[in-house]
Every structure is written in C-alpha cells, then in structure tokens.
Amino acid sequence: MATTQYLFAGFGGQGILFSGKFLAYKGLTEDKQVSWLPSYGPEMRGGTASCSVIVSDTPVGSPIVSKPDVLVAMNLPSLDKYEDSVKAGGVIFVDSSLIERKVNRTDVTVHYIPATKLASDNQMPTLANMIIVGKILKELGGYSEESVNAALKKVISAKRADMLEINLKAMQIGANN
Amino acid sequence: MVVFEKPHALADVPLHYCPGCTHGIVHRLVAEVIDELGIEGKTIGIAPVGCSVMAYNYFNCDMIEAAHGRAPAVATGVKRANPENIVFTYQGDGDLASIGMAETVHSAARNENITIIFINNAIYGMTGGQMAPTSLPGQITQTSPYGRDTDHCGFPIKVCEMLSQVDGAQYLERVAVNNVKNVKNAKKAIKKAFQNQVEGKGFSLIEVISTCPTNWGLTPKKALEWVDEKMIPYYPLGVYKDNTAKKEAE
C-alpha cells in the first residue's frame, strides 16, 4: 500500500507544473491512482509556483500535500518555506546551481544536482525541471526508457512531438548526475 | 375599399395602457410589420420590465418576459440558439438606457442580428412617474420634484447619438408617433429594422419618442404637442446611422 506525496516548488517559468504533470501521467500509465494540484493565482506570474502530486496504489484522499515524502526545491525561497514540512525519512532534491545553502535537516535524504547549470551546458536551458525528474526516477526507482517514453507521449501534445527527444535526453542527464 | 382590421400578429385582447399613451400605436406598427413581412411564425418577442411588461400577452408570436434591462442579453441567447428566428426586444427608457445600458451597448457592439424597439417617453411610467435617464433638463417628475437639475443628477442620455459611435450598430433611427406623418415614418423605420434582420444585416434600433400623458400631467392632446415643443428639439428625429445600404453595395 504505497503512497508517495511529492511537492514541487520554484519560480514561475521553471516548469514546476509540467514536471509534476509528467510524474502524474507516469503514474497513470502504470495504473496508479494519481492527483495533481497546482498553486494558482497571481503568484503564478513570476512569483513562486508549486504543485502537489500524489501517486498511490490506493484511492487518493486529500490532494493537498502538506507533508511531502519528496520535496523538489528549485529556488531558495522554496527550500526555506518547505524544508521543515518534509516527512522524517523523506527525500529532498535541491537545484544546487540556484540554491547555495545546504539542507539543515538531518533526518532526510538530500540530493544536490546543479540542474540549471547542466541544462544550460547542454543547450536545453528550459529543461532543468526534467533533469531533476530524471534524477528523482533514478534515485527513487521507476526510471525505464519505456515508462518514461509512454508518459512523455501523454504529456507532450502531438503538435510538439519534436520536444520528446530533448526531454528524454534531459532525464538521462539527470539520471547520470 | 380599405376596411380597418387588427393585424394578425396583434392579439385580440384589451391593452392595459393609459388613455393617450402611444404604446398602443407602436404595438400596432410592430404587428403590422410582422404581418407584412410574413414572419409571425418565426418571430420571438422579448418584453421588458416597465409599462410594456405585459407585451407578451399582446403579440401572437412566441414571447419571453425578461428581467429589467436584460432583454438584449436574452435576445442574444435566443438568436444564437436559433439564428433563423426573428428576434425583437421592446424596451422603455429606464429598461434600455438605465439599468440595461451595458446589455444595450454590448449587444450593439457585438452586432447582434436583432431588432430593438426603444420607447423613449422621458419618464418611468409603470412605477408612477419618476425621473428617467432620458428625462429632460428641468423636467418635473416624482423624483425630480423641483425639475431635473443637471448639476445634481446629470444629463439625459441620447441613445441614438451614443450608439452611432459603436462600430457594431448597423441601423439607428429616431422617430415619433405624435402625428400622422410621424407615425407613417415610424412604420417605415420599424419595417426597415425588421427587414434588416431578415436580410442578416445586423443590429437595428429604432428609438420612438412617445408620450406619457398620465405622468407628464398633460391631456393626451397636450402631450402630443409637448413632444413637438420639448422632446423633439432635444431628441432630433432622423437616421443616425445606416450601414445597411453600404452593405448592399459591397
């Protein structure tokens, strides 16, 4: 009876909502129960953005993630705001190219990945989010080319099929760093 | 030999209007036009809130009673649902130019292919003679007992002039029904406004300068004279906009 609660947080424009959507779709293609809930309103306009994703073997109760198993922090305000909310034994992914400080908690596992730098080094400046997703799947299990491909096809519209390959590549970079 | 007959589109029931009120004339003109165009079976009329609230009983076509000022929005819904229907609203000055101003302007802006018959008698009749958006400067009403003071409550709204600045409006004419010649002109204008809709030419509004002898405190005859002396000088008759000829040329 496994349930994983993710909280993605960062600036508007970092693809926070998209990476959450990808994980939700990945869950759906694997016959899991899923929910995705964005923050909404003026804060989306260049302020902080966050979204709650739940992937579960059983029906999802509340879609609101207030105590995440997994936190993805893509900027400092997000880490400051949500670090303490992570469950003991949980996991925090930190974009270390944008967040200079270390995580204070000692009861969680932390993965630092310079996602934004890796993205710009690899000429994919908008895909730091997917580099982190690749890292998540590598560290937490669930990274297979097949499942990732299936979910990507759901979340990227047919019109933008040219984006498939580069998203895949971003996730590979994340998985290998 | 011409024998007087009631138009078919006008129901054979007594109207509730006051003696000398010109609603009856305008009802008849609308019904005559519906008859002449042979459109009764596909016409939907929309009654307002005001003296003509019960117009739904007076026309033999299908009728809808709308909330105060909302007739153009209701007409929009009806016309968008069934564009083959002919849809008209029949509204007074409070309904059209006060509480329903937004609906009026925006239905014109959208160039809804509907016909609006706008009765301007410069007063709220149904509620007993209060100041209307079209009451004249200095006009005495129940709510402007010392005469309409434009410093305090602003100026009358000239609907045709205002709507002539709205790109979507296609045909705007102001007429009166206080003498035979004006009645004949009014009939022509109303017919054109319906004809425009039949031909898909878009938004037409006919403003009819009308009387309210009861609330003006005048005899019916004096009221007709008051239209000439006071109303028409402030609200000049004529065509304010006609895009329909241009459309034909295109």
Binding site: Y40, G41 | E40, T43, I44, M63, I64, A73
Partner: protein, 353 residues
C-alpha cells in the same frame, strides 16, 4: 470503456457538458474557474456550438435564460462574486421554470474575498440563490471524475424537472487534475413543447414568463413548484456513506473537505475509533433521512467544512439536534488539514489516545 486521461476539474466539466449536448456557453472571466471558458472558447467553434464572452455575469445568465427559453441545453460558470451577480437571473430562471446548468467554483468571501478554495456559498446555493421561494438542484463533486459525471447528471435533472442544476465546486476541485473517463450514455432530451422557437403559425403562442400580478395565481405557481420539489426530495437524493456501518462519530463533509476527512478517518480507524462519514453529493435535496438514521448510532456529528458552520445547520436539522455537534472548519481560502480533523475526531472520542 473510454481511456482515462488526466484533466483539470474545470476542463472535465466543460468536456462533459459538450458530451451532454450543451452547445451554448456564456461567461465572464473570474478565478478560479476561467479554464471552463477557455476550454469552451476553443472547442465550441469546432463543433458548431456557441461560446460567447458576455459583458458581465448578469448578461451571461440572461443569455442562458434566452437559450433555455428555446429548449436547448445551455450553461454558464463563475466563482462566488460572479454567482452573486447571477442571483437575479437564477430567480428568473426558477420563476419561468427553465432548465439550465450553473457552475460555481467557489472562492473565499465575502466581498471580493480571495481566490483560494472555499465552500462559503453553501447557504446561497441551497437556500437563497436569489429572491423568492425557489430551489436549485445543488450537486457537490468530490473528484474530477464527479465534476464530469455530475455535469451530465445535472443537465439531465435540469431538463427532467425544468429547473436549474448548480454544480457547487471549489477552487481545489476546479484546479486539480485526476484521471477521468468520459464515457456516457446521455439520455435523450425530453420534449419541450413550452419552448419559444416560433409558432410556425401552427399553435398558440408560447410565453416564457415569471410575472403573475394576481396573487392567487402566483401562489398556485409557487405551490405547484414546491410539489415538484417534494418529489425531488423523495427521489433524487445522492450521497456516499464511508465506514458508517458501526460509526459512533459521524463526519459530514462534501467536496474537498470530504477528501481531507477521509485521510483523517483512515488514521482514526487505525486507533480503533468508530468514525465514518456521510458525504452529501446533492446538497439540495439534502440527505436528511441518511443523517437521521445515522443519529440512531452516532453520538457526535462533526461538520468538516470550508465555511462558518453553514452545513452544520442542516446536519442539526436532519438529526433533530439529538446529538453532540462539532464544527471543524477553516475559511477564507484555508483548508482544514487531516491532522486538524483527526484532532476533532479524537476529542469527540473522549480525548487523544
């Protein structure tokens, strides 16, 4: 069976409406429901339908009134402040016995309030949608799937009873994505001989109207409408019972509050607390008899809501004030946490174990 897709609640409502045969949508932008309008703006022109952005919520509801008069399926959607503006139209729709579907994706109030989720339009929806004696069918979805299902159901009920169905959702339901299957066998629309579509010179004219100047005639029309409402109260109540078989503590919650409450109930049950939930799906008609029956076993009722005890009043009425009552709520756009609900359950059970 249709494939499951991930959809936002707002989009699920829009697509389900189209499947239900709705081809006319009128609305005015307001957060957090604007996705419905955006979806309709994209889809309607492609299927011969009509999306029109109205100049105001007032105009939108009156456009709905116009289309409903012609007998076609039609809807509008808004959020709390916008629904207040539609109140006039809701009353006229009721007075003229016109079917329609109205969606309220609630946000915090009063006044301009906020844009975060709320359930504080409960009174407005269930008791006072506008002036005069009238009711609306009020449907409260608790998942994206139900956002879609209840939209289809709402159109069918509206036509069946010639009245307004209101989907009473909240910002969370509108914004969240969940898997949804849009697989419906939509019932054909009933005949509408009252519709104003033109006499074709073949019948007497139809009149759509809510004006009755003779008080005895107006009374008669009200009483006839309330006969219909009585029938609906007997036949159209929908609810979900969750772990109620042995429940000594009964939670009442709908929409997002019921989702939070479920988490708390699961935790409380681990402690052996006999707690369950009645989730009204129809807020009107309210599942009065279900609560009445629950009161035979349950000693305490906890209303979990995003309002100041608005639903709690109906729970008290249904159970004839026989039990203990607790309000577990957050307002203004805040949502009670499962921990807050659990604490209320533990307290009702005689303190934390």
């Amino acid at each position: 069976m249709a494939d499951k897709v991930l959809m936002k609640g707002n989009e699920a409502i829009a697509e389900a409406a189209i499947i239900a045969g709705c081809r006319h949508y009128f609305g005015y932008p307001i957060t957090p429901q604007t996705e419905i309008a955006a979806y309709m703006a994209k889809r309607m022109p492609k299927i011969g339908g009509c999306f029109l952005q109205a100049e105001s919520e007032i105009a939108a509801i009156n456009m709905v009134y116009g289309v409903a008069s012609t007998g076609l399926r039609v809807m509008t959607s808004s959020s709390s402040p916008g629904i207040s503006l539609k109140g006039e139209g809701l009353s006229y729709l009721a007075g003229a016995d016109l079917p329609s579907l109205i969606v309220n994706v609630q946000r915090g109030g009063p006044g301009l309030g906020g844009i975060q989720p709320s359930q504080s339009d409960y009174f407005q929806a269930t008791k006072a949608g506008g002036h005069g004696d009238f009711r609306m069918l009020v449907l409260a979805p608790a998942s994206v799937q139900e956002m879609a299902d209840l939209t289809v159901k709402g159109f069918e009920l509206a036509d069946k009873y010639r009245m307004t169905s209101m989907i009473l959702a909240d910002g969370t339901m509108g914004q969240m994505m969940e898997p949804v299957a849009l697989d419906y066998d939509v019932k054909p629309m009933p005949e509408k001989p009252w519709a104003t579509t033109g006499t074709k010179m073949e019948r007497e004219h139809n009149i759509v109207n809510s004006l009755f100047l003779q008080p005895d005639a107006l009374e008669k029309s009200n009483l006839e409408r309330y006969d219909r409402y009585s029938y609906i109260e007997e036949n159209e109540v929908m609810y979900e019972e969750y772990m109620m078989d042995d429940a000594e503590i009964c939670i009442a919650a709908f929409g997002i509050a019921s989702r939070v409450a479920k988490n708390a109930i699961v935790e409380a049950r681990k402690q052996g607390i006999k707690v369950g939930m009645i989730r009204p799906i129809t807020l009107w008609p309210f599942p009065t008899k279900v609560f009445e029956k629950a009161a035979e076993k349950a000693h305490t009722f906890i209303s979990v809501e995003l309002s100041m005890g608005q639903m709690l009043e109906d729970v008290k009425l249904a159970t004839k004030c026989k039990g203990e009552y607790v309000l577990c709520n957050r307002v203004g756009g805040m949502i009670p946490s499962p921990e807050e609900v659990l604490a209320a359950i533990e307290k009702a059970n005689g303190g934390a174990k």
